[in-house]
Symmetry: C2
Subunit: 87 residues, 2 copies
Amino acid sequence: MFLAKIYVTYKPSILDPQGEVIKSALHRLDYTDVNSVMQGKYFEIKLEAKDQRTAAKEIEEFSDELLINVNMETFTYKLSEISSVEE
Amino acid sequence: MFLAKIYVTYKPSILDPQGEVIKSALHRLDYTDVNSVMQGKYFEIKLEAKDQRTAAKEIEEFSDELLINVNMETFTYKLSEISSVEE
C-alpha cells in the first residue's frame, strides 16, 4: 500500500483571490508581518500498486485528469510505502 | 523572512464528503486500486518575524483563529527561514 501526499497550488502567473482575502483578514487581526498567503489544496490518497514506480505513474495521471485544473494549477507530491494495516 | 507550509486536514472522526466523491470518481475512471482519499487545504504563508520561535507562535495562533475550523479540522506545519529576496 502506498500513501501519496499531493500539494496543489496555483501556477505563478495565476491570481489567488482566496489567498489575498486571507492576507487582508490576517492584517485586520493585527498579524501585519504576514507578507503573502497562497491557498492551495492538499490530498492524502492511499492506493495499492505493485511497486512505487507504478504508483507514481498512476498518481501523475489521475492528478492531471481529475484533481487539478491543468490550465491554472500545478502539483507536487510525495509518495511513501505504508503497511496495509496502518490506519 | 519565514515560509510556513500549513496542511489542514479533517479530524479523524469527521466525515470527508469531498474525499468520498473524489474516490468514487477515480473508481469510475478505472483507478480502482485507490483505497481512500482525504481532501484538505494547503497554505504557503510568508511572514517577517524576529526569530523562528516567534514565527511558530504566530502561525499556531492565527491558524487556530482564522485558517481552520477548530471543531472539525486540525493542522500541521513546516517552517523554514528563507532569503527575503527569494520569490
